[in-house]
Subunit: 261 residues, 2 copies
């Protein structure tokens, strides 16, 4: 088995070191990760800039000879695309795994997530793909409780595969102790409000920094990722890179505008 | 009516000048566009960097007093988010329109497109949103044949609205003469191959530049955007920012792994 591992926090982040180590008993692990933080890069790709794929020495904490490390001066999707066209040109990996992300990728955040961008790119390449996130931005967060969930889901995906156009978005609650279960659910509806803080620079001109609060629009719904995370449960959301809306939702008035001369 | 106009080619691009001018008879047009090219930025957002919203003089070709111009030092999604939180804080726009993109956003390209990223952000804000693209990367391409399609679809969307979680991805073929019709279709299945060209730098080290060929995996299917574009027709794809896979596609084996202590 060959497993491609990436993330959006950069190869130096602690989350990816744990992930690579826990996956190495399943097969050869090839880490191809950004050379620095690339959070919120969604599925952005780099055009017009030369990309480099650089072998890097294994971090001290991770000298397992079953793990190879590379960095890329691009986005998470660049990492997957470049790996597929170089290291994996002749033989595709059996699985793409991204994370463990430092911070939640639940609800609408899946859309902006670089971690999940890489996972969706793996899915587009028809490779079973999973993203893991821990709901803590603390760089020293305790990742240990994630281990059994990484192992059980990696084993399941390697054994059963995933349907075409479906990948997994796994969020793990940062709680005292271990999560009390795992559920397969949908992404919660919600939105961000008050998304910018306004500042004045020394010249008196305004600038804006991203901030904001997440509003859960359906806090009572028990079949969502947000519900799981606030009830000490791991959420697994089957996620798709398909962008065409389901046919039943197409606006009927548009049909009347269709014409062919 | 108030219409937010943006793009991913930057406010200097010819496509957005045409779009703003053609939309101004429908209402007040506020252009909030990147300060330079941001192609392939998908739904990336800028974190940790100060964003500025700068009023700019109307381009000479566009001195219509019904159009205001602003630039942002960020991505297309930043433009929409920042506009919503500043200019449109108290009164949301009636429509978000992005483009006219220089180049196709059909098939899988919708995923990476900054233009369609902005459109999906508008959709997430519950505002009817449309993206327009012309299938030509020529900076001097003839946009005139796009005009009737921009007008008919903008009028339709302002009159009828769009369903929740559905926006429109419109591609216009770059052909001699005018397109011969318009169809509502799905995004074609296909993929990019040989995505990088390999180079050696003066020090003998490899670098890679994005390139590649698009393979249409279903050239016979008549209900796709690619089919329309190769048959002189405009394609309209109802597109969604929803990322949870339809429930019927969820892998059954995952249910057996769910547990609660």
């Amino acid at each position: 088995m060959k497993i491609l591992v990436t993330n959006d926090d950069g190869f130096q982040a602690r989350g990816i070191h744990h992930l690579a180590k826990w996956l190495s008993p399943f097969g050869k692990v090839i880490v191809v990760a950004p050379d620095g933080p690339r959070s919120a890069q969604s599925m952005a790709i780099t055009v017009n800039v030369p990309l480099r794929l650089s072998p890097i020495p294994a971090p001290d904490s991770n000298s397992d000879s079953n793990i190879e490390w590379y960095s890329v001066n691009g986005t998470p999707v660049d990492c997957v695309k470049l790996a597929m066209n170089t290291i994996f040109r002749d033989e595709k990996p059996d699985m793409v795994v991204a994370g463990i992300n430092h911070g939640s990728n639940s609800a609408v955040n899946v859309i902006y997530s670089g971690t999940m961008g890489a996972v969706m790119e793996g899915c587009i390449c028809n490779i079973p793909s999973i993203g893991f996130s821990l709901t803590s931005h603390d760089p020293m967060a305790d990742f240990a409780p994630c281990k059994p969930f990484v192992e059980i889901l990696a084993a399941g995906v390697l054994k059963h595969g995933l349907p075409e156009n479906v990948c997994l978005n796994v969020n793990i609650p940062d709680i005292d102790g271990v999560p009390e279960g795992m559920r397969v659910v949908r992404a919660c509806r919600g939105r961000w409000t008050e998304e910018y803080k306004e500042y004045k620079d020394p010249q008196g001109k305004n600038f804006y920094m991203l901030t904001g609060s997440f509003i859960n629009e359906e806090p009572e719904a028990e079949d969502t990722d947000e519900w799981c995370l606030s009830h000490r449960l791991v959420s697994v959301v089957p996620t798709t890179p398909e962008r065409t809306a389901p046919r039943g939702e197409w606006p009927k008035w548009l049909d009347e505008m269709s014409f062919v001369i």
